[in-house]
């Protein structure tokens, strides 16, 4: 018996990015299916209602190192990052569980926001790495810093890939957890230092991951509290997140050397 029978959206399999852009239109009635870890249950339980579901075209499922850049396709699975560059690798290992990591995609992780799980645990380390995101949608292709993409919301755009400089860095990562099945971090701080520039970002303190400019500018770990206003969710209160944020910042920075 077919369960998704009545309002079942059409499934479209674009053969190329161009076909994807064409089918996606203005995105208002479309969704992109990456690993399905978010979208499939949303459709099943009638929380997401769209006319079209698009698969990613071939070619977006690779990690490449070319021209001094590391590029991670939107369809790359979280599990493929576990042995890669830090602090992304540690964040990937903390995310949910083995099956979900090997199903969930990087593109999906960049599009989720607080209140959903996964809560974008890859966003902070990618911010720390200075990543840019290439997307398509109305107005064509766009390549922008990840923080800009996150700030404007995935909205009606499709992520193609995310990339950052292929370079030596010192990195740090610190997270607070309440270990349970299907877990995500309560709060996680990722940091990277290269050529004297330090980038620090936090997941779990805002609807998406954000950078901590006060800390990056050389402020104390406690100055991170000037940059964010954490909210409550089922894992922890805003009070708790504020309380431990300086500690996690300090721990993440301490491993930068």
């Amino acid at each position: 018996m077919a369960v998704v029978a009545h309002s079942a959206p059409d499934l479209i399999r674009p053969g190329s990015v161009d076909e994807l852009v064409g089918a996606f239109g203005d995105g208002s009635d479309s969704a992109v299916l990456g690993g399905g870890t978010v979208l499939v249950p949303e459709l099943l339980h009638r929380r997401a209602r769209v006319a079209r579901v698009l698969l990613l075209p071939p070619g977006l499922d690779r990690v490449t190192r070319e021209g001094g850049r590391v590029s991670i396709g939107a369809g790359v699975r979280v599990s493929e990052l576990e042995d890669g560059d830090e602090p992304l690798a540690t964040a990937a290992r903390h995310l949910a569980d083995l099956e979900v990591r090997s199903q969930a995609t990087v593109g999906g992780n960049l599009c989720v926001r607080a209140g959903e799980t996964p809560r974008g645990d890859l966003q902070a380390p990618l911010l720390a790495l200075g990543a840019t995101v290439r997307t398509v949608g109305a107005g064509g292709e766009r390549d922008e810093p990840l923080e800009d993409f996150l700030a404007s919301g995935a909205g009606n755009r499709v992520v193609l890939d995310v990339s950052y400089d292929d370079a030596e860095r010192s990195t740090g990562y610190a997270a607070a957890l309440r270990p349970h099945t299907h877990h995500y971090t309560i709060l996680a701080v990722a940091a990277a230092r290269r050529n004297g520039e330090t980038r620090v970002a936090v997941t779990g303190a805002a609807p998406t991951a954000v950078r901590l400019p006060s800390v990056e500018a050389g402020g104390s770990p406690a100055d991170a509290l000037d940059d964010v206003h954490p909210q409550d969710d089922a894992l922890a209160s805003g009070w708790y997140r504020r309380r431990i944020l300086p500690t996690l910042v300090e721990r993440a920075l301490s491993s930068l050397g």
Partner: protein, 370 residues
Amino acid sequence: MKHRGRGISAIEYPTGMNQNGDPSQVWIKLKPDGRVDVFSGTSDIGNGSKTIQTQIVAETLGVPYDWITYDNSNTDSSPLDTGTFASRATFVAGNAVLKAAKAAREKVLEIASKELEIDASDLDVVDGEVVAKGAPSKSISVPDVAVAATWTYGELLTGVGAHLNPFATITDPETGEVDLPPHAAISYASCAAEVEVDDETGEVRVERLWQCFDVGRAINPLLVEGQIEGGAMMGLGLAVLEECYPYYPGVDHRGPEFGAYLAPGIKGMPKVDTLIIENPSAGGPYGAKGISEMANNPQPPAIAAAVYDAVGVWITQLPITPERILRALERKERGEGEPRREGKLVSFDEELSVNTVAAEGSVFQYSLPT
């Protein structure tokens, strides 16, 4: 900084429904080849009652375990069982099974007695053979007894058993006095917990649990261990993870999925040491008591005491969240962690008390002498 601490607890828990009055009934019949069918109404919810009750029948009837089919599948064929709750499936339903198996055994011996021409009281059933006590060469197999019962004597080898601990009436509602024991038995256990607490993030990790249960009699030690180990993990969840009201940190944050409901997983598992002691219960089948429910009772207080041992704060509200630890540590730093002392009264936790929360004239109010 991380701190370690240990705490202990000792608990007791009743077997069977409170105040009793919860019957179980069982019917056993033998097929014409001596194989045994048990009809019991006990649901197996993972507790292992199919296994336990089958073992009791095998032991009592004297036939191999694998000769027995156990059918609890429906109410047309199985007689009444009050249910699998209140730690009653081994003790109460087990007693019904035991009685039914004894009755079936008597019927087997009665037919065997005719076939062997030996008084039933001089016969025993061992491994599916009815043998004369002291003269093992004189024997007849249970299958042959079943054949004889069916085709020679026109009888059904069967037995029924029922068990009911009578309902204990509260004879004086003022004092709670009862006219009979209000439980089928009581089981006892102790526990120790070792935790590690991060005083900067409030994270608690339960590192070890030691548990000792008096199970009366372990009808199947593997099953008993499984119940105690599973209970330990549920107790750990209760102690440090799970909550659905008031939906920490607020009533709006009801977790609709497992990302938000904190059920303990394999990574949160401590090292668990299980000690079983057997002081047989006078009324239990082969001395057994029910322990599966209480298996999740001793960990929370032992863990909370271990947290105090580690970082010096009493967390009295479950679960022991990282936030509750940090807030308690803050109070302690402000010098507010100590109980109020007034005369001989040492009073903890007043800010939570009904005495201060409920309106004046509340029926819940009472006051303590100081």
